[in-house]
Structure formats: structure tokens, C-alpha cells
Symmetry: C2
Subunit: 376 residues, 2 copies
Amino acid sequence: MTTAPSDPVAAVGVASQVVLSVDAMGGDKGPATVVAGLARFLADEPTARVILHGPEDQLTPMLAKRRIAGQVTVRHAKDIVAMKDKPSHVLRHGKDTSMWSAIEAVRNAEASVCISCGNTGALMAISMLRLRKADGVNRPAIACLWPSRNPAGFNIMLDAGADIRADQDDLLTYALMGASYARNGMGIVRPRVGLLNVGVEEHKGRAELKVAHELIGRAAPKGDFDYVGFVEGGDLPSARVDVIVTDGFTGNVALKTGEGTANLISELLKQAFNNSILSKFAALLAMTSLGRLRKRIDPRRVNGGVFLGLNKTVVKSHGGADATGVAAALHLAYRLGKSGFSDKLAARVATAVALAQDAHQEGVRPKTDAEDEQEQ
Amino acid sequence: MTTAPSDPVAAVGVASQVVLSVDAMGGDKGPATVVAGLARFLADEPTARVILHGPEDQLTPMLAKRRIAGQVTVRHAKDIVAMKDKPSHVLRHGKDTSMWSAIEAVRNAEASVCISCGNTGALMAISMLRLRKADGVNRPAIACLWPSRNPAGFNIMLDAGADIRADQDDLLTYALMGASYARNGMGIVRPRVGLLNVGVEEHKGRAELKVAHELIGRAAPKGDFDYVGFVEGGDLPSARVDVIVTDGFTGNVALKTGEGTANLISELLKQAFNNSILSKFAALLAMTSLGRLRKRIDPRRVNGGVFLGLNKTVVKSHGGADATGVAAALHLAYRLGKSGFSDKLAARVATAVALAQDAHQEGVRPKTDAEDEQEQ
């Protein structure tokens, strides 16, 4: 580890100081984009401090160019986790990577939140190994924000892709963790939780969803949230729910589908406004309103998945994030760091485990339903 | 069955005549919306003929009001399949429903394509019972159209929700059926097929997806399509693929997520243009371009899932479809009826079965991969 003698992080070691640990490498657009995002973030939060992990010879000139060297300490890491690297390979050979170093700084309590744009599977694997799952959590989840019709402007969806599987107990844990994130991270006092399915009817869906439906319903009163039952893909932006629970395979497909749809429409809008001299003139006149709209539906604005169910907080930025997206992820990490979210979540997870055990003792079991096959 | 003596369908019994069998009941908006959609469709296709199934006393005045009684025969059915009805219940007690009657008319070769806005599970269950699965098909699928960057303007996705499960062999069958639909229904000579996953890397995803990946890759040369490998949710509107294959749970969530996102953006656009007098003026100026855009991203325009893998063709319109949506489904059904799609697909499915058997004989098996759990 290489730290400059005049380490700005060490110098400003006050209790209220939020320090972020940022992996500079591994994003699709390279470290210059991460540093550009850092500069935008620090312009808004000048008291924040950052430990930036990656090859020192590359990063130091970038920080100088952006004039943020005073707020950012470079921690040298010679290796990079590539998008194609298998998590198992990274676990064995990745100790000199910027990603590993970034997580290590959170583990050592030098920083309160870790941020990376890199390989999600590797980031989760290292996080699980070094930060450990919170007591009673079998599968940690990634929670993402979804533009919605709610006054807050966002709903929370989890798991967005930490694990391709989730059984009924995992789905219950996700419900409680998601509710906690909504309460502590977004200020929603009594979050409404829904379970994603192919229909809102109780007889539809996979067997584990029917059991999770009962488990979550029973846990709601003690868990300080309202359970609205099954929701569908069309409810992700709905105002009737705040937290949508699903397995990581479905959640990942839904997330990328929503982003892809928004990007397509955004492209088509641009084309529409370039169609004629009249529509160009119209675009000029509409600029303010469309700017507001663009800001609202811009996927970069809601960039940053949060790993829930670990002993520390890790924010996964989208691999293809540009400087705006990176800055959004940093802002999210900063808010979470300031709120002391990790500790609050740990308490909530302990409750979740107790609730799950309660439910099991009360004998919630899958219904025998020979008609499952037909009832889609 | 009640048919008027002057049955227009019987009267125009020429070979090139396309007759559609339409379930008037079971949609969220009731039969008046279906009849309104019929009127729009028949204005474009005046030589088409329709058998309309439902309560005669309700339907006859509606047809008279729309002045389409000359092209539409009412076939009386007193019962209605409700959205909440379990498919198993409908199979036992649904013989007097409009949905059953609509499928029966296709089975009896009185009409070439059946269309319904009703309960998807019930429609699939009755279709499977009365029309039978095509030889060698284990799970029929619903194929839907997705707005895309391709010159055709659409990609095909299946299964959009016929069955919540699909194993590796089903996914191979979907690939071949989807390619056939793209070729025969949309004129794409050599369709490009992709398999939906949480990443494009070969080591990612569920075990059955890894096997399907190999099976589809091997089948591509003989199946007259190109296999582009794994695709992600963001590729649903992509120009690098024409047919996206997935299980019906994931496909249904993706479909509803895409629709929900498009609807949200459309609402926000309307709000944006009502924000100020300037933007209202802008909207007036931009009307032509935005109209084109609205038409392109309007979910009603791509309304109509096609059941693939049965011996006859069934088009499932969205339950919430309005008259525009119903008309779109009818146009789709009419194109398929004209093209003789059912027979062409049956031939293709036979090939699919042979190809799957070939692949199995060549010994494609799931890889043992202890790292599955970690590799998300």
C-alpha cells in the first residue's frame, strides 16, 4: 500500500467525516470516467474525503488535472478485475486488485462505504469473503432504485442480480432488508412491500413464491411495513408499492429491460425532434420541460445498487456508467455513509431472522397444488 | 350454437377468404371495446370475415350500431371466462363460454385464427386440450413483439408467459419456433436468435441456460438461423438480435416491465408538455414528430401474443387492450391467417424435434460446475 505522507484522509480524521473507498478500475469506460465522476461529486460535497484505489501512475495525473488531489488519496493497486474474470478466479488471485483494496479499506474501517463500477459477481464474492454476511442472511441482495410515480420519485427493487437464485426464506429476508433501506435510506416511515410475480392472483406463480407470499404477509406487522401482495412487472414504477422483492435473475432482467426501454425511447425522442425544422424549433421551446423529464427518466440518475445483507455497505455502480452515473453512485454512497445505514440494517436483519423463525414455527408450508402446471 | 340463416361467413366460403374467430368477452374493458376494435380492423380489411363469440343479446345491437353486422356472425355463448377463473375450473365447467366456443371454431376449421383478450392461463389450457400441442412440443410458448432498433421495428420474444417453467429442451424448441415465426410472420430470411441471461459471458446464469446455449448453437446451422449467444434485458430492443428466447416467468416480467416503463415515460411526456404555455406551444409545433414517436412506442400497437407450438394459431390480446389494441391483435391474426402460418410452423417443429434428438445423441450435458453458486 502506498499512501502519501500528507494523507488528506488521515489529516481530517473527525468523527462526522464521511470517507468513501472508491475502486477506480474495472468500469467499461476506464478510470478517467471514475475520476471525472469524483470531481462532480466533490464539487457538490466538498467536505467528503475519498480513498481511490488503482495504479498510482495512472490516477495521480488524473486527480491533478481535475484539481481534486487535496480531497482524494490514491492507494496503489497494480491489478484490475476484468468484466470477464470469474469470481472464483478473483477470490484466489485478486488480492492485488483495486477492487480488493477498495473493500479492504471498508473492512479496516478507514472508509464507511465502498463503491465500484466493476464486475458484479467478483465484487459480491470479495464482499462476502472480506465483509461477511450479516448474521442470519443466506443470500445478500443488490437493491436498486427504480423511477416511479411515488412522491419520492423512486421505488426500490431487490435482488437486482447478486444471486440468480432465491428461495422463500431469502425472499422474506429481502422484504425486511428492502423495507429497512426504504425507511433509513429514503425516509419512508412505513414502506409498502410487494412480491414480483406473473399475476396478482394468489394461485399464480412458482411454488416458492406462494410460500414467500404467506411468510412476508405474516412478517409485515412486526416488521413495520405493509405487504401489498403480488405485483407484476408493470408495477415496478407504480405508486401502490415502495419495495419490490424478487430473485436476482428476474430482477436483473427486469432492471436491464427497464433501462433498455428508457434508452430506446430517449433515442427515438431525439430523432423525433430532429425530424423537421418545426420540431427543432419545438425542441428549443420545450427545452426546460424536456430537461426536467430527461433528468427524471435518465438511468444514470438512479445509478448505484446497494449490497444488502453484509456487515458493511458496498455500492455497485453500473459498469457502463459515465461521469454523471458515477457521481450519482457516489452521492448515494455518501448519503448512506452519513446515515450510519450498515448498523441500522444489521439490527433489522436480526429481527428478520427472528421473524422467519417465528413463521416457520407457525408451520407455513408450500400448499400441495397439483394444478400448478396448468395454472401458469 | 346459434347462427343466423343468412350467415355471411358461410355465404363467402371462398378459399382465399380469411375468417377470424373472435372471443368478444373476458377483456378488462368488455365486449363493446372488442366490437369497436373489430370495426377499426374491418375498415382496413373489408374482405375479412369474423365469427364473434358471446351473449347474442349483447353483441347483436353493438354490431348494428357499428354497422359491421354484414361481416360478422355472432355465435351465441352464454358464459364468460373471468380473469380470476382457474384454468382447471374452466377446463371442467367452461364448455359454454365464449372462449371455448372461439377455439372450437378454429378446431372445426370454420376459422383459421382464434383471438381472445381473456384469461391467458385459461386460453392456453383450452387451446392445449382442444387444439393439441404440435408433435414433439412439450411446452407451447407465447411469442410477443417488442419495439426495436431493427429496420422491421420489432423483435420477437418468447415465452411471454404461457408457462412459468422452461427446461433446456423447451428453450431449444422456442428458438426454432421463434425463428420460424420471424421468417414466416415477419419476412426475416435468416433470423438472429439470442438466449436471455443475466450476462453475455458463457459462465454466467442458471445450469439449464448453459445447456440450452450449447443446444441452440448446435441447432442453428440446420435450423436456418444465426445464434448470437446470450443476450441481456437491455438487448430486447437491440438491432443485434431478432428473436429473444427465455422462460415464461422471466419473459412475462420483462414484457410487463417494458410496457410499464413505456407507459410511465409517456405519462411524464404529457406532463412535461403541459408544464408551461411555452411547452404547450412546443407540443403543437412538434405534433407530427411526436405522433410518429407515440405510434412507435405505443404498447397497443404491438398488442397480440401468438401461441406457438399448437396445431392451430391462437392470438392472445392484452387483457387491458382498448379498441386500438384489439384492432392491432386482429391485424396480426389476419396476417398469420393469410400466410398459412400454422402449417409452416408444424413442419418447422418437426425439424426442431429431430434437431433436439440429434443434439442429445451427441451427448450435450450440463457441465459440472461447483462454482455456480459464486458466479452469480
